[in-house]
Point group: C2
Chain length 87, copies 2
């Protein structure tokens, strides 16, 4: 599976969410990560993120693809993260 995660988290929690996701996926830019992930690990990431955010105030969006090749990725401007080798 391939996942793109974007999040809108209040400032007091954003560092923890970012540090956590850096251990699992590629940092794309502020509040955006992507990468290959197994279904089991995705479930774990969701459960652990649930403990890091305030579900009444924060939002985390998961765009999940069974096949990474169903996705074409393009960048306009200066690529920030190190994912250029991925797609």
């Amino acid at each position: 599976m391939y996942v793109i995660i974007v999040y809108d988290v209040e400032v007091e929690r954003v560092a923890r969410v970012c540090q956590y996701l850096r251990r699992h996926l590629h940092w794309v830019q502020n509040s955006a990560f992507e990468g290959e992930i197994t279904p089991a690990r995705l479930e774990r990431v969701k459960a652990e993120l649930r403990d890091l955010i305030d579900e009444k105030k924060d939002a985390v969006y998961f765009y999940i693809l069974q096949d990474r090749h169903a996705l074409r990725r393009e960048v306009l401007g200066r690529e920030k993260g190190s994912t250029s080798t991925i797609v």
Copy 2:
């Protein structure tokens, strides 16, 4: 086609980029949009975004899918945008 756009744009240009994208796609959260789009219109959006950003400082990421159904979208926490009807 279906596209997810995330961007990392310096503060002096972010409002213009956001206002522009609101005319073409659904706002998901800060610096994230998604929606159905034709190939021709995507090219126009890219060209017009190029005029709005500073390509040496800013970055806009396009995740493009031929088939929206190749994508599963999940939200943890409080959904901010109005895209819940999309997937």
